[in-house]
Amino acid sequence: MNVVKAAVLRYRVMAYVTGVVLIVLCFVGIPLQVAGKPAVANDVGVVHGILYIIYLINAWILSRKLKLENKPTVIMLLAGTVPIMTFIVERWISRRFIAPALASQVPAPEPVRPG
């Protein structure tokens, strides 16, 4: 596995883990907090805070490997703070940037010499 593929894998793992934890925080923790039980929101909130830092670093490394423009980079970094957004952005980044980058990495096949 080359450097770019490893960066893609780490980004994807963190995008999904951070995304799931953020969904738990927003759709379980916050309602419980409103209902007067803030324990879940507090704990999951801290977990998401730590995961988001790891997500930021990995998303950033991938963005540098792909030499992304500023706009997709900022969108990718901020996606970790909006519920469900990491999944959507991961799909978009995959289609728009990761696939072309990996496609261009494939080395040219050996030329076939006639006769």
Binding site: G49, I57, K67, A99, L102, A103
Partner: protein, 170 residues
């Protein structure tokens, strides 16, 4: 709280970095536009990005300060955020400095620009369509290597498509 040191570091990242680029060396590869390389930094687009970075940097420090005061007034959870916000502010500065450094390298031709790969895609075929060729639109579970190879073949095909014209074949 005083952030003078950090701000000074940020200014270095923003304004000291251009100085190597202020001396354009003719031998350092293709330059897309005339003039010194650092000129891209004062394009309206980039000025907007600079502004966004400065505002978000101070905004994050302000949020950290706010959490610090909440922590002092007894909110234990706020201690975590007291340290997290300045960390994010630091990330912003480091990320921004490295982005600008990379941009310099690309513009000086020191490193290949992966963004140019989009331009290599077949004429009339956007990246979205190329992804369809690469099989990444239907679930994305397909083997990456195979998808990449298919996209490569599509690109290769388009590259040689009009080649016969040079030999008077078409």
């Amino acid at each position: 709280m005083s952030f003078g040191v950090t701000l000074h570091g940020m200014e270095n990242a923003g304004t000291a970095a251009p100085s190597p680029g202020a001396v354009p060396s003719p031998s350092s590869g293709p330059s897309p536009s005339s003039g010194p390389v650092w000129r891209f930094l004062i394009q309206p687009r980039w000025l907007g990005w600079h502004l966004l970075m400065v505002v978000s940097f101070w905004g994050m420090l302000w949020l950290g300060d706010w959490q610090f005061h909440r922590a002092l007034s007894g909110n234990a959870l706020s201690w975590a955020y007291t340290f997290e916000w300045p960390l994010f502010a630091g990330f912003a500065v480091v990320f921004w400095a490295k982005t600008i450094r990379d941009e310099f390298r690309i513009r000086r031709g020191e490193i290949a620009d992966p963004r140019a790969m989009a331009a290599q895609l077949p004429a009339g075929m956007g990246i979205a369509q190329a992804s369809v060729v690469a099989g990444l639109d239907d679930g994305g579970d397909e083997d990456e290597e195979l998808s990449a190879y298919n996209a490569y073949l599509a690109r290769l095909n388009a590259e040689v498509k009009d080649h016969g014209r040079w030999h008077g074949l078409r």
